[in-house]
Symmetry: C2
Subunit: 514 residues, 2 copies
């Protein structure tokens, strides 16, 4: 099972540390998933080669745009690309060669080393929802997110056994000025959790702030030599790399911090309506984006992937948990593995307005597909609602519970002597039952995944207890989790230094609201 009890860990010295140990609530966090099952390979070799050939054709003949970014164009010229205006034509083979310097796997450090994650290989790291401007809970309904909500979601992620990562913009704190939000968000991740987190990408100077705060938290030398942030750089499909996002990528790559280079695909709108065409465009975009990260700093860590949704051709609405999104996610996984890069995709996606059956069907479709497609870093693994417009308190804990099924699924089937169970079969024999046998007694505690949320009670008990549906159970659960939350220890000097940095940066410029 590869779980470990990575409980509250005192980081301060002396008395504080001892006090912490006496009063600590031990929160179990599972180790990131190390798959012991194969990936689902939907494309055959011939299809893969067609897509790879066509992607290079796009790069060479059609080209990609690097917008408002003269330095990027110069880097491409220096690398041997044919640059015409803002259009970069990349000769066949060049991008693939440039990508080869990116590591196939890297460690993202957490301030609690027990919570470091290894991104790549056969691993899967799970992080919460990213980006919604709204939140929803059962009593309060749908409303604009605030920094108080943001802190709540950071706490819930910290308390969630199957989440390995604190994420980034778990919701948009709309009550904080746009140009200062990143400071409060980072402060929350750094002080309210000890899991790894993401940096700001909304402007190059905010990426620089993120690096500066990370240096306060981890120490300047440590950050120079290790990856402590993974940040989300979306590509504007089709084939457009804007100056702001690339500016963030440049800042992080130069500081040896990881970026996710990820086309944001709405099939039929920002990519061709066919899966084959979408895969081709995604591969071209990934090749160009990852290459560019390596032009900025060869060897800097990067995650390749795609955010994928399709579109309802009647209404234009984005759709989630669809078979076409699964096709794309399986296919991109194969293409990214052939590039030797860590893969980002999937999440608990849904279009539903409520954490109801629609939300769960769509999310389960996406989560299962994420596991089997070989994803290494899954953003939006819990809490996503309404096409990403809403972070839902109830759905956060529902999805987070389901993430346990991915951990157990990934263990595969053990065929050692205990796994074969022949002694049990001999002992029980035809017509017997296994509940009391020795093999069952020895294994039952760890044999099966167990929910911390869902209802398995007999109908009568369930009815007596109020006939609660999953939303009600989830509502009770997130409230209890927030109530039980205990802040992980952090050296007082570090906390003060982080707070001082935030205060100083906030004071240095006027509030901006767009």
């Amino acid at each position: 099972m590869n779980e470990q009890v990575a409980g509250r860990r005192a980081r301060g010295g002396g008395g504080a540390s001892r006090r912490a140990e006496r009063t600590a609530v031990s929160f179990e966090t599972a180790r990131f998933i190390e798959r012991n099952i194969p990936n689902f390979e939907i494309l055959n070799e011939e299809a893969l080669q067609i897509i790879e050939h066509n992607a290079e054709t796009i790069l060479e003949e059609i080209g990609v745009n690097f917008v408002e970014n003269e330095a990027a164009l110069q880097r491409w010229r220096d690398a041997g690309a044919d640059v015409r205006g803002e259009r970069v034509h990349i000769p066949r083979g060049l991008a693939r060669k440039l990508c080869s310097t990116a590591p196939s796997s890297f460690t993202q450090h957490a301030r609690n080393p027990a919570r470091n994650v290894e991104i790549g290989g056969r691993n899967l790291v799970l992080a919460p929802v990213y980006g919604p401007p709204f939140v929803r809970d059962m009593e309060g309904g749908r409303r604009y997110a605030t920094i108080a909500d943001f802190r709540n979601f950071v706490k819930l992620a910290y308390m969630s056994k199957w989440l390995h990562h604190s994420g980034g913009t778990v919701c948009e704190p709309t009550d904080v000025p746009v140009n200062k939000r990143h400071l409060d968000m980072l402060l929350a991740h750094m002080t309210l959790s000890d899991k790894p987190f993401m940096g700001s990408v909304t402007a190059p100077e905010r990426a620089a702030d993120s690096v500066a705060m990370a240096k306060i938290l981890f120490g300047s030398d440590f950050v120079d030599q290790n990856t402590v942030m993974t940040s989300l750089v979306n590509i504007n499909s089709p084939m457009t790399f804007d100056g702001i996002m690339m500016g963030a990528l440049e800042t992080y790559a130069a500081a040896n911090q990881a970026s996710i280079v990820s086309p944001f695909i709405v099939g039929g709108a920002m990519a061709p309506v066919t899966v084959g065409g979408t895969l081709t465009q995604v591969l071209a975009e990934v090749l160009a984006g990852v290459s560019y990260s390596q032009l900025v700093r060869a060897g800097s860590p990067v995650i390749a992937g795609a955010f994928v949704t399709s579109i309802d051709m009647n209404s234009g609405a984005p759709t989630f948990g669809t078979p076409e999104a699964s096709h794309i996610t399986y296919g991109v996984g194969q293409l990214v593995r052939r590039l030797g890069l860590p893969y980002r995709s999937a999440g608990a996606f849904c279009g539903s307005k409520l954490p109801d059956a629609q939300a769960a069907y769509e999310s389960a479709n996406s989560l299962n597909m994420g596991l089997l497609s070989g994803v290494n870093f899954m953003l939006h693994a819990c809490g996503w609602l309404e096409g990403g417009l809403v972070s839902s308190y109830e759905k956060f804990v529902m999805d987070a519970d389901q993430l346990g099924t991915l951990h157990h699924m990934a263990k595969g089937i053990l065929m050692d002597e205990n796994g074969q169970g022949m002694d049990a079969i001999r002992e029980v024999g035809p017509g017997g039952h296994y509940l009391g046998c020795e093999h069952t007694q020895a294994n039952f505690k760890t044999a099966f995944w167990r929910t911390d949320l869902l209802d398995y009670k007999p109908f009568e008990t369930w009815a007596e207890e109020g006939s609660r549906d999953t939303m009600q159970l989830a509502n009770e659960r997130w409230k209890k989790m927030l109530n039980d939350y205990v802040q992980p220890e952090l050296d007082v000097a570090k906390t003060e230094a982080l707070e001082a940095f935030v205060a100083e940066r906030k004071a240095s410029e006027p509030d901006a609201f767009i």
Copy 2:
């Protein structure tokens, strides 16, 4: 997509037929799924060989029980097994050899030939829930099922585009005497639908009634030469074949009708607590059961498989949609394919009391796993609730809608010139959009799966329309379907003959209620 419009088809001649054509409501039914994607193979060759070796060890050394069935024991003796009391020890290799006469694929005929299904190969045939004594709907809550409910579910299955099969005991009509239910159930399948259906297995004489009624519907010669029923023969795990179930199997095999030979597995109770042990026991049971069908009549059609659930080790409650059930389903699929037999497993399983998020997470986990594990016949593909105690009207249409995702997923990724979409990528170029391009216009109607149930509307529209959740949408949908239902034509003489048979058989014995 392999869909076909298999609308209402007049079976009578002359005027009735022409009238039917004028007034016909055309109900689209998708053709059974023909997979163009690989199966997910969780076990490697070494693991498969260990399990196959151990299963033969069980058959030879431990043996299986054929209970209260002297004829069966004699058949086994004649075949070369070592029979001691009711325990049959099957020499290594014998069962596998006997299984080899069972067809790897067979056609189950429907009275509407457009709805025939091919069970085996890379196909997947979907059938509704089987067995619940209760029904539930949003207004009426949970209550004992009646024959009126039964007829409603047969109609809903007939109206459901993605269901290929009418199933069997879609709910238990508890208001009809136990010894006469099968007659009313078969009459409903035969007259209210034109999709293929299942026969009765609760007693050998009820199986004989099923064959007799099928002969009225299809003609005696046709039934002698073709398979028109697939019936569910559960094995009492561990390793016990009771006389009643085997009596039904004998009746069907002798009449060349198909049986599903299927251990009913509650992991940890009726099978070892480890997946490897369960797979071994299931394979032994399948080998023995399928062999026995071939001893009754070599070449008779059979489906091998497993009904799989695990157990909550704290409460003893069965659990659904769990990773362990997925492990077993994937593994059994591989083992059954190596025997060259059609595979039955999976379903829209859940333990939830309501068609809520829990129900949907669990069901989606099961449905996805069912598709990828290579299942050929999926019973319980829609409508299952509360661990199989309840047939839910709302969940029936929710699941039935999700079955569309399996159809589209199974299509795989087309990489012909249209699929590659390079013309579209050239036409649109960096920074453009695909909504208006020629390739999108040519493909958008069939490119993406579309729900007939779920909500994709903008938040504001959804709120104005009453903020309906999935249960409410489903409630409206099943009512509309029943309202729109039009009975498929059937020759009046056949209807009368079937009704006469039912009346005569009912009159021939007193009502029994247990």
